[in-house]
């Protein structure tokens, strides 16, 4: 007769049910609470920035501010030319950066798998993405502002293009690598060569991913201030030619925020609202484009 062991059962359960000793339990609880507090602390600045930019921005935003030129203190002015300048500089930068960025991404994903040059270029892209934006501005100053003897939209666009480049390269490479290998095989099997495969199969399939990269690059470039301060500088006139100093929203916020006049300070908030909405919209749009496809 084998005993069912029922007399021992309560003991066993008691043993299994031993509560965690007080120290370990409270350490566990305490750390959980701490990590929740840390996460909440991190979200406070986000909401505070959004709240103040919305409230102060909307209260000083009006049609005149958006469409007129800066005026001497005392009279009503605006920053229409800075909005125009921002769009032009970012558009020039995008036009410069996209071809190089997308082609480099294609090289890294399709041509240069596992060779030394490929590793070298990828390393270069990572290093470039870590270069402070102000240093890129210093570089653009040395390359374009000193020889041309004047700050210009070109110099600003050149600096922003370099800043966008690593983002576009990386996102393009990632997007191309997500395309199943079988797609390439099928295309090659049908007799296409490598160029045809890339141009007609791989790039169209990865198109939303590439667009995401470009949009993320634009959203980064639109908010950059440091490289524009002395490359595009500022202007109180409407844009005429890209080889003259050009105003932009970001540099305008910087100079107005530190000015002594209250109407300029409130214009800085209005410009921040515009810039923030622009940057966040493009950024969120980029994520949405990517998610819909994959």
């Amino acid at each position: 007769m084998i005993s069912t062991g029922s007399p021992h059962k309560p003991d066993l359960i008691e043993e299994l049910d031993q509560p965690l000793n007080f120290g370990r339990a409270s350490f566990d609880k305490g750390m959980t609470i701490l990590s929740i507090i840390f996460t909440l602390i991190a979200l406070v600045p986000l909401f505070s920035v959004l709240y103040y930019v919305l409230v102060n921005g909307f209260s000083s935003l009006n049609w005149t501010v958006l469409t007129s030129l800066p005026a001497p203190t005392g009279s009503v002015g605006g920053f229409g030319n800075a909005i125009q300048g921002s769009f032009i500089i970012v558009a020039l930068a995008t036009a410069l950066s996209v071809p190089f960025g997308v082609l480099t991404g294609i090289y890294l994903s399709e041509y240069g798998r596992d060779n030394v040059l490929d590793d070298f270029i990828r390393f270069g892209v990572n290093v470039l993405s870590g270069v402070p934006s102000i240093i890129v501005g210093v570089f653009a100053y040395g390359v374009l502002v000193i020889p041309l003897k004047t700050p210009s939209a070109w110099a600003g666009a050149f600096a922003l293009a370099i800043l966008m480049l690593p983002i576009i390269v990386r996102t393009t490479e990632e997007a191309l690598k997500l395309i199943p290998w079988e797609l390439r095989l099928a295309s090659l099997g049908l007799g296409a060569n490598r160029f045809q495969t890339i141009a007609k199969v791989i790039v169209p399939a990865a198109f939303p991913g590439i667009i995401t990269g470009i949009l993320l690059g634009i959203s980064r470039a639109a908010g950059e201030t440091a490289p524009l301060i002395f490359t595009a500088a500022s202007s109180t006139y409407w844009f005429t030619r890209p080889n003259l100093p050009t105003a932009s929203l970001a540099t305008l916020i910087f100079s107005y925020a530190t000015s002594a006049y209250n109407d300029l300070k409130s214009q800085a908030w209005a410009a921040s609202l515009l810039l923030l909405m622009l940057v966040l919209t493009i950024n969120i749009l980029a994520r949405f484009v990517f998610r819909r496809r994959f």
Partner: protein
């Protein structure tokens, strides 16, 4: 995944065979040139920034690093106070950003909340990185400093104006937080689940598992995330320029105004008064370039170690 890799290997031979159309070799060269252009830009940048700082290097040499006297009127330039300010603000920023960022990363990966709640939170943390730094600066001047001023004045014995080293470091920590948090989160996510389950099965509590298994397993990646954050903090310009107080001297206390390399470039580059002044600014920029380059290469080494371990 391994199957695919074998397939890739088998097909790479077909893939590298050149077609009959000339388009393929031409395109091959075009993309290679684009890739080389990225490296070219990096080398060009180094040459330009180093080349334009030559007059200052000849004039001051290493003395630039030990002299804190910056006086454009008498053509005397020393960069010590800028280097000090740059390093000090970045370290203050990391002192806040590392614990908080790591706390967020753990909170977002260790099954505390359902996925439906986590996605918006991590999205919001990433939005912090999308806010332009000049907007942080504006917010810093008109919102953060008025709130902090009484506290800072009490801490510093009444001398603080709100602008200074500590304020700049604090604002910077908000800006590098997303970098630290999102990369650490990726690292923790990539650690195999079995490791965590084994630890829990041995009777460890959740936080014992985190501290003794998850964090040690992810050390090199987490260090990489922190070093990347440090690189960002060292080079960040606008927000720091707007709240640090811009005093070209070694601050006497953590609450006193100071200056960073990036800030002096932003303020003085456009209206440098003479050739030596401009060249000294290029020299300061070159120093910042070298410092961030070294920090980023270090980060790269740590991050690469993670991907090697995973293979």
């Amino acid at each position: 995944m391994t199957q695919l890799t074998r397939k890739e290997e088998a097909s790479s031979e077909i893939f590298t065979q050149e077609g009959t159309l000339p388009a393929d070799p031409i395109f091959n060269n075009v993309v290679k040139v684009a890739g080389l252009a990225v490296i070219g830009v990096l080398i060009w940048m180094t040459l330009v920034v180093a080349g334009d700082s030559l007059p200052a290097i000849r004039q001051f040499g290493f003395g630039f690093l030990t002299d804190s006297n910056w006086d454009p009127n008498s053509d005397q330039f020393g960069g010590l106070s800028f280097v000090f300010g740059t390093v000090a603000t970045a370290l203050i920023a990391m002192a806040f950003a590392i614990p908080i960022g790591l706390g967020i990363a753990i909170f977002l990966t260790e099954d505390f909340l359902p996925e439906a709640v986590l996605t918006p939170i991590s999205f919001m943390v990433e939005l912090l990185a999308a806010i332009p730094s000049v907007v942080y600066g504006l917010w810093g001047i008109f919102v953060m400093i008025p709130i902090l001023r009484p506290l800072l004045q009490w801490l510093s014995g009444g001398s603080s104006s709100g602008y200074g080293l500590f304020t700049a470091g604090l604002l910077l920590s908000i800006m590098v937080l997303p970098t630290v948090a999102s990369i650490s989160r990726e690292v923790l996510k990539s650690i195999p689940r079995s490791l965590r389950n084994a630890s829990l099965a041995l009777g460890a509590t959740r936080w014992e598992t985190i501290f003794r298994v998850m964090i040690p397993a992810g050390t090199s990646g987490i260090v990489g995330a922190c070093v990347l954050g440090l690189g960002r903090a060292l080079g960040e310009t606008m927000a720091v320029t707007m709240v640090i107080g811009n005093a070209p001297e070694i601050p006497k206390s953590i609450f006193a105004p100071a200056y960073t390399i990036a800030a002096v470039l932003a303020n003085e580059f456009g209206e440098a008064s003479g050739e030596l002044h401009l060249s000294s600014l290029f020299f300061a920029g070159f120093l910042l370039f070298v410092i961030t380059l070294l920090v980023n290469i270090l980060a790269e080494i740590f991050v690469r170690r993670v991907s090697l371990e995973r293979q």
